[in-house]
Symmetry: C2
DNA sequence: CTTTGCTTTTGATCTAAATCAAAAAGTAAC
DNA sequence: GTTACTTTTTGATTTAGATCAAAAGCAAAG
């Protein structure tokens, strides 16, 4: 979904501000496997995924762990870099050719100062992030691998088909072998 | 820590706004075991814990699970009620006599409209929440019960001493028996 | 169509932590 | 003190999912 359409779903902006915002975000197309951000790096950019699929990931004991999937209409930013001024363990990778809108957080903040609705939008986006984490925490803590797989199938049926098994397994917090057995229904 | 001192650590406010905010938050003292919010209820209040300890919790299969500990200088609000307009599974309970500041989200939002610094503060508080969840998710997914216990000892040494074992175990995502064995060093 | 290099599946074994059950230790009430 | 109740510890057993190892499936490259 286009950045501006997304924005309008949640807040209303003056036509001027709308145009200004739309200009302020660069638009780029990236191929599969492109890294928007490398893990353990510093990035103050804010990304919005207009079309495609991406994921955030990190390296733990040499293994690649999917931290979250980014679907169309979602934002990604490195909280560690922007708010804690440190490198972030999380990288972001494009999984299918995608259209990405980009702005630096510094620039975005200028618009926050000019526009209360935009600040409201940022709260909405952040609250969504909190909810997503909270839900995932719950699922890791209380659901079996099988249950987590089922609810992911419900929530992201598209991702399950379009993404390599290993990425999904690490996201679900299980090994690839276990995921394979679950899929086979054993 | 006093609400206003906390605020000043992060943003600067005009003396007038400072006084206004300070008046807008009610101040109350609650005894141990008092529930600020019952689980599965609707609450649009925002709480700030000025002194004491509290926890958020929910009921899962009849069992009481600690979702987070609220230490001095932390905020609590029901995201589900305020942003999703539904009942929240999470309740909040005072664990030791505490001084709590309270405001309705509606009232707080009015100040957001008047004050950009306050909006910035709300972003900081939310980002902290995201970071906390993100860290806890990591610990549940990759650390053994023993490791989680150790890092909690480091992070919240005070809580470990002042709170019943069962509350801590459910927070760590383990049974009380396992926590007891870990403590005994077995 | 065969070789090379992934990705996925299958099999056997191991282990951390859960569960079930009961004893022990604390705490408060009389 | 003794009784009743709650919290914590200890013990025996079970289990979900990990780990290790190898086989099977698949896709691109020559």
């Amino acid at each position: 979904m286009e950045l501006i359409s997304f924005t309008k779903q949640h807040i209303s902006l003056s036509p001027e501000m709308e145009a200004e915002i739309n200009n302020a975000f660069r638009r780029e197309t990236y191929p599969k496997n492109h890294k928007l951000v490398q893990p353990d790096n510093f990035s103050q950019k804010v990304f919005y995924l207009e079309k495609g699929i991406a994921r955030t990931f990190y390296i733990k004991d040499g293994k690649d762990i999917t931290h979250s999937f980014i679907s169309e209409g979602a934002f990604f930013l490195s909280i560690e870099s922007i708010f804690y001024d440190t490198a972030s363990p999380y990288g972001a990778e494009i999984l299918e050719e995608s259209v990405v809108r980009t702005i630096s957080y510094q620039d975005l903040e200028k618009y926050f100062d000019k526009s209360n609705p935009l600040q409201k939008l940022s709260r909405i986006v952040m609250v969504n992030a909190i909810k997503t984490f909270s839900d995932k925490l719950y699922s890791i803590q209380f659901q079996s691998a099988q249950e987590r797989y089922n609810s992911m199938l419900e929530k992201f049926p598209d991702i399950m088909l379009r993404v390599p098994l290993g990425n999904i397994a690490s996201y679900l917090g299980i090994t690839q072998e276990t995921l394979s057995r679950i899929r086979a229904g054993k």
